[in-house]
Symmetry: C2
Subunit: 138 residues, 2 copies
């Protein structure tokens, strides 16, 4: 890794990584303001996200880098990276690619936050825009 | 605790609490769509939030319930509770009370996400709306 590259990564040292070396990340659609998903990044994922201008997360379940959209084609173009006052949460302003309107959720919905508490029950209040079988079957 | 009360809390059992019994929470301003802050809740905090219609978080640093605005007066009226597809993240649609425009951040800014990555440096890009000394000094 060149000295230039290392220096250019100083902003990564400003992040307060948790005990697992991760930081929580909120992905917000720039055009609509909708919160589309929540995931995690490690240092490498955040560096790649900034370098590529596309969201790369860390999959805690699979314990590996997860280039969002690598299977579905539903990539996320990153316009802005923000951190909060404690430097321990990242907010991405993105455009959800691959479908109109964008599909961020593996269930085929626009947003992962499609369940609303109504009369003491979580109810799905957003439509499935595309059958997940058709999203992930090549 | 009455049987009715216990039954009415079934929706809390749907949450996938983490190893510490917590769930991450995103607070989004309903009117603007702005993501104002990120915090954590335990079961009691989420139950209280729903019951009161005001955000009550769990402070990990102080290890106690934290009724947002208890010192500052900057409470959060909760209009909607949502969870994501994995049932392990909560999204609140709120109105930030106590100041116009709303101040969610302890630095006196509208949103906690006021630092944007610009040319490899995190830059504060939102103004302080009220001096924190004046927010917290009674």
């Amino acid at each position: 890794m060149s000295a230039e590259y290392t220096e250019a990564m100083d902003w990564l040292d400003d992040i307060k990584w948790d005990a697992d070396g991760l930081v929580p990340v909120i992905a917000q659609e720039r055009a609509s303001g909708d919160v589309l998903m929540f995931a995690w990044m490690n240092r490498e994922a955040l560096a790649l996200t900034a370098a590529r201008g596309e969201a790369v997360y860390w999959s805690r379940s699979r314990q590996k880098l997860w280039h969002k959209g690598e299977e579905s084609g539903h990539t996320q173009t990153v316009h802005e990276l923000r951190i909060d006052c404690d430097n321990d949460v990242v907010l991405l302003k993105i455009t959800q690619q691959g479908h109109e309107p964008g599909i961020a959720c593996h269930t085929g919905r626009h947003s992962c936050f499609f369940q609303r508490l109504e009369n003491g029950v979580w109810s799905a209040v957003e439509p499935v825009l595309k059958d997940p079988e058709r999203i992930y079957r090549k």
